[in-house]
């Protein structure tokens, strides 16, 4: 397993946002976490990248415990997190945003190659490279957030609601990009409200309800599941 989360719990003060969740991410796969509002999806993802401390359990990445590390150290291990709401740096240019994603890297030549790679993947970002990031549309900002994460050369990409607030055409484009990135060997954990999209993209899925794992299994199986269809796919 690339990443393994074992029986973790996360508390915000007295609120148990995550009670008992175990998630396994195999190398090269897309794993999705779906569920309603307040089910603990975002919190689970934030625990993976060290944004929130866990109260119980353990998290292993490539066999090493990472659950005691602060967020900025976890990036160095090869996990990049595209946060909910994109969270690009609004007053920095597109290119500065991307280069900030490579903050920990020292291989100047490699950074230039990857920057070119991101620009090839997102031609719109190349056109707007010296534009301030906040002046771009939501879809472009999402692409920037993904590009910034790729610049750290991660082995695992965590994505929180990449489709949020975007027009259907753009959502299609983002979905294609996620598939493409994954096809090139990068493992992905995808948190989504849009369960239909998530189950279409993912190999394996977890359904969270009130901080617990309600269901898990291959994505195509969950798509056929009665409960999932009724509760999350609106069918």
């Amino acid at each position: 397993m690339l990443l393994e989360m074992r029986k973790i719990a996360v508390n915000y003060g007295k609120i148990n946002a995550v009670r008992d969740i175990s998630i396994a991410v195999p190398q090269g796969k897309i794993v999705t976490i779906i569920g309603g509002n307040g089910a603990g999806k975002t919190t689970t993802l934030r625990a993976m990248s060290g944004m929130v401390p866990i109260a119980r359990g353990e998290i292993l990445f490539e066999g090493q415990r990472i659950d005691h590390l602060p967020a900025h150290k976890i990036v160095a291990h090869g996990i990049a997190h595209v946060p909910e709401g994109r969270r690009i740096f609004p007053d920095m240019t597109v290119e500065e945003n991307l280069r900030t994603g490579a903050f920990l890297r020292r291989d100047t030549a490699g950074i230039e190659t990857d920057l070119d790679g991101v620009y090839d993947r997102f031609p719109r970002l190349r056109e707007r490279r010296s534009q301030r990031a906040q002046t771009m549309s939501g879809g472009e900002q999402q692409m920037l957030a993904i590009g910034r994460a790729l610049m750290s050369k991660p082995r695992l990409l965590l994505m929180d609601e990449p489709s949020m607030g975007l027009a259907p055409v753009i959502v299609e484009e983002i979905a294609r990009i996620i598939e493409e990135i994954n096809a090139q060997g990068l493992s992905v954990v995808l948190v989504e409200q849009n369960a239909e999209l998530a189950l279409e993209l993912a190999d394996h899925a977890y359904v969270l309800e009130t901080g617990n794992t309600a269901m898990e299994g291959p994505a195509h199986e969950l798509r056929g599941n009665e409960h999932v269809r009724a509760a999350y796919l609106g069918l």
């Binding site: 990248s49 944004m51 602060p70 967020a71 900025h72 150290k73 990036v75 160095a76 990049a80 997190h81 946060p83 969270r87 690009i88 740096f89 609004p90 007053d91 920095m92 500065e96 280069r99 900030t100 994603g101 903050f103 920990l104 910034r148 750290s152």
Partner: protein, 289 residues
């Protein structure tokens, strides 16, 4: 009349120089750490007393005393980051209150070490760059102007062109997203605090021979700096520099042609007008305010 205008303009450029050094440091600290450093005026004062100790009392050459003073105040900034702002990082109001406490400690230390009397500092140079008979710029003031241009230029280069400069700006714009890029917020806070304090320190050190050095000299400086950063737009470094120039010109011209008390009033009026017309300040954006 032309000569008086030109002379007053030169005086204003001098005032703009040290005000912007102080204000930019204050903005940098606020931007990266989210805390209002009330002790910033006392860091300016500490820089001036470094010159009293090193240059006036120990007779070190002025241009050796100034960098030592700058470094000393920068280290004071690191002490504040470590002792006050880091333990209180989830409590910006606590940080503000702690900085007021620190301000009083610095003032008391200055009183204990040097007394409450105004310090006499021998002039660094009596030379004046003469443009005409009546228009001239004392070289000691020229030093302040040159230092401000060089240091603010260096800061701009650092912020826009270097890896750690980006890290600083990223932390100021979104600390959580910055951490996700591998940036240590503790480290950027430390850098911001060191630079911000050192800029206030060097402003105090360079102006020490030109102003009356006393333990409470930081007060008027911090009031001016607050006006300037509000006019410029809280969180905007460019705004702080532009507002420093605007404020210095208005204040110096009103002082020269009318009087100093009126100049203070006009300065505050300037702030009110800007806040009414553009509540986020000249360069501020709504989401930062």
């Amino acid at each position: 009349m032309m000569e008086l205008l030109a002379q007053t303009g030169l005086n204003a450029v001098y005032a703009a120089s040290y005000i912007s050094l102080v204000a930019v440091g204050l903005v940098l600290i606020f931007g990266v750490m989210g805390v209002v450093n009330f002790a910033h005026g006392e860091l300016f004062m500490a820089g001036a007393y470094a010159i009293v100790a090193l240059y006036a009392d120990m007779h070190l050459p002025f241009f050796i005393a100034v960098p030592i003073g700058m470094l000393f105040v920068g280290l004071l900034g690191l002490v504040m980051e470590w002792g006050l702002f880091r333990p209180l990082k989830d409590n910006p109001l606590g940080g503000l209150v702690a900085s007021i406490g620190f301000l009083m400690i610095l003032q008391s230390l200055a009183v204990m070490g040097f007394g409450v009397r105004m310090e006499h500092i021998p002039p660094v140079t009596q030379e004046v760059v003469r443009f005409t008979d009546k228009v001239g710029l004392p070289v000691a003031r020229l030093y302040v102007i040159v230092a401000a241009v060089v240091l603010l230029g260096a800061l701009w280069y650092f912020l826009k062109r270097t890896r750690f400069g980006w890290a600083l700006r990223a932390s100021a714009q979104d600390p959580e997203a910055a951490a996700l890029q591998g940036i240590s917020i503790t480290q950027t806070a430390r850098i911001a605090m060191f630079i911000g304090a050192a800029l206030a320190g060097v402003a105090g050190a360079l102006t020490a021979p030109l102003v009356s050095v006393n333990p409470h000299m930081g007060h008027s400086v911090i009031v001016t700096a607050f006006i300037v950063i509000i006019v410029g737009g809280v969180g905007s470094l460019e705004g702080a520099i532009v507002a420093s120039v605007v404020y210095a010109f208005v204040h110096t011209f009103v002082t020269t042609f009318w009087d100093g008390v009126l100049a203070d009033i006009v300065g505050l009026m300037l702030m009110l007008v800007v806040l009414i017309v553009k509540p986020t300040g000249l360069f501020g954006s709504a989401d930062r305010a």
